[in-house]
Symmetry: C2
Subunit: 375 residues, 2 copies
């Protein structure tokens, strides 16, 4: 028992470049909301039957007005995360023996959501090393092939994907999907809350975001936007409990997480406007890494803070270093830099999002020193 109770977070005063962590850091407003709304079902004090209907605090307005506008969709809902949003869509649209088409860069949660919904999965391959790009026309090929095997009830595009931070031509992919009468879901776990993105401008049918990943919110929480046409399938009500939406089991983020999402929202709206600067900073970082012969893969020039690197040099070092492939992790840890997974040297990803340039300079210097030291 003594090991439970309050526990400290070890990485608290580290520079954190883990892609999972950079977009989920709380705003000051969200930190205050945490304390105010921390208790269990705090938001349910004035509930009249469903989370999205709560007027005090103003969840109703947030979900019915603000969020649809922000996502560029007609109808929005709160979920327990991006994966739960994807599962809700897949589960609502699933039919026996049907298929979903995923991009080859899809996050594992898209795949697992499809498995849980009982859907077969077909994948649109990426172009391989070094670009790993998703080419729109391949969607046509894969959908066509898959239609021979069964119904294709949904296509998914990861925008950007969580490995390379690539941003494919989503508009064209939406158009292609619609030529085959297949709705398109944009998995924007790494976009919504970081960069400008609107479902309607792209022409997609669903859009999914992650509060704890990219909206400066405590988690788990996600957002789901959809076209009105799909709301009857997604928002189907219980036969017995007329207010309760089946796919959301009545209510999803029934606690503090919705309040940190709302608290950070003005901050998120502002930071999205600064996206150009974040891209510029990412490109600067990528160039600096390449000076060290750590090569950035994926889209180039890059359009996102999430970047994937390849380093033959670090890999060679790992073969001889005393701590083996853990040397990089340990050297970075010594310098209070966190976020590159222990054991990785040849390939790793990181994110520069909202990390101040001075901190990124420390990161670059660290790589430089480490390479020097071991070479």
């Amino acid at each position: 028992m003594p090991k439970f109770g309050f526990i400290e977070r070890q990485t608290k005063d580290f520079i954190n470049i883990d892609p999972l962590q950079t977009g989920g850091k709380l705003s000051e407003e969200a930190k205050k909301a945490l304390v105010e709304w921390g208790d269990g079902y705090s938001v349910c004090d004035f509930c009249t039957g469903r989370l999205e209907e709560i007027k005090t605090p103003p969840i109703y307005d947030f979900v019915h007005e603000t969020l649809p506008e922000f996502l560029g969709c007609e109808v929005a809902r709160i979920t327990n995360g991006a994966r739960e949003a994807k599962f809700a869509v897949m589960h609502a649209l699933a039919r026996p023996d049907a298929w979903v088409v995923l991009d080859g860069n899809a996050h594992y949660t898209s795949y697992v959501a499809a498995e849980r919904a009982g859907l077969n999965v077909a994948e649109v391959p990426n172009t391989g090393h070094p670009g790993f790009r998703i080419e729109p026309d391949r969607y046509a090929e894969v959908i066509e092939e898959t239609k021979k095997k069964g119904d294709v009830v949904l296509a998914v595009l990861t925008y950007p994907d969580g490995n390379y931070g690539n941003l494919p031509d989503a508009k064209r992919i939406a158009k292609i999907c619609h030529e085959y009468d297949v709705p398109l879901l944009l998995n924007c776990a790494y976009a919504v809350g970081r960069m400008p993105v609107k479902m309607k401008e792209i022409g997609a049918d669903f859009i999914v975001g992650s509060g704890h990943k990219s909206m400066a919110s405590a988690g788990p929480i996600g957002v789901l936007g959809m076209r009105e046409d799909y709301s009857s399938a997604l928002l189907r009500k219980s036969a017995k409990y007329k207010k309760k939406e089946i796919e959301f089991l009545g209510c999803t983020a029934r606690g503090v997480t919705i309040m940190t999402l709302i608290a950070s929202f003005p901050h998120v709206v502002e930071r999205v406007k600064q996206w150009d600067k974040e891209v510029e900073k990412a490109r600067w970082f990528s160039a600096k890494m390449e000076e060290l012969e750590i090569v950035q893969l994926g889209d180039k020039p890059h359009n996102h803070d999430l970047m994937f690197f390849e380093s033959q040099k670090l890999y060679e070092i790992s073969k001889k270093a005393k701590k083996g492939r853990y040397f990089l992790y340990k050297e970075l840890k010594k310098r209070k830099i966190h976020g590159i997974k222990p054991g990785l040297t040849k390939h790793f990803k990181l994110s520069t999002y909202m990390v101040p340039k001075e901190q990124l300079e420390i990161v670059i210097r660290a790589f430089e020193e480490i390479i020097d030291r071991y070479s």
Copy 2:
């Protein structure tokens, strides 16, 4: 936009007797954990592939050792809440055209989870006014009848239920279910974290708890315990991502909620030991209310802090009062007492859990004054 950002909780300094709220108030340790672990995916800094495998913070030990012992089960998992745990079980066990048997006092989320899992629902009726009891032998009847229509894949008992706070003879119900080869799930959203309850002692197959309802945790979060025999169905892994459990979409409470659950856990273990005192206090409160002719329905003497009351008198007043049926809510609000739903007068529920006796005395005095004033 100005209405978003930080928002105050209006009921902050109220006496809160809403059954949703009394067991979810954060412990001091949990309040500290909130601030420490508030950021997005904070707990994932040292993840090696799945939430339950994380050793820093000690989620692994919590889920694999502490929680099974606490719940009296063989295998435990963290979920996004009680309803999500119930859905996971129903979804994993569902077959086309199959049935689930629910007690007539089941929470709406059990029903909606069954609908989402595509299961038909049969109900074991309660005994009606005034006891609303669930009699074990009725499970035999209903299972027998339902088996004529199709497979019965699961039975659910709400223990206690969320309306009357009744505690049926769960052991006998488990025995009966097993005579028909039907596994029993105990929905202990109002038990786990409040009162002593062990799955194995009752002889059930699944047990579900709610962190934000009864374990002094921020939400949404729940716990699911099961017998080993069911783990292959429930913990089925992805075909492609070998570490990821399909029913949990890889990870569930991937953020601050698991840390408040862990932070409060020692406090919760201690308070469960004080359960007798809570029952005594509830009985005392019930007796005081009955002196005011506000009659407690359900089990008598009562065995839980959640109680359902009936008042002909308050109902009569509501017909004539200026504010109509809202008079009671408004009078209580004036006295900074929250938790009885606006508009209710004849029937309402409340909880005395962890509410100090002095505060309950204020509540009783309030009812007395209100009745006096309007009579």
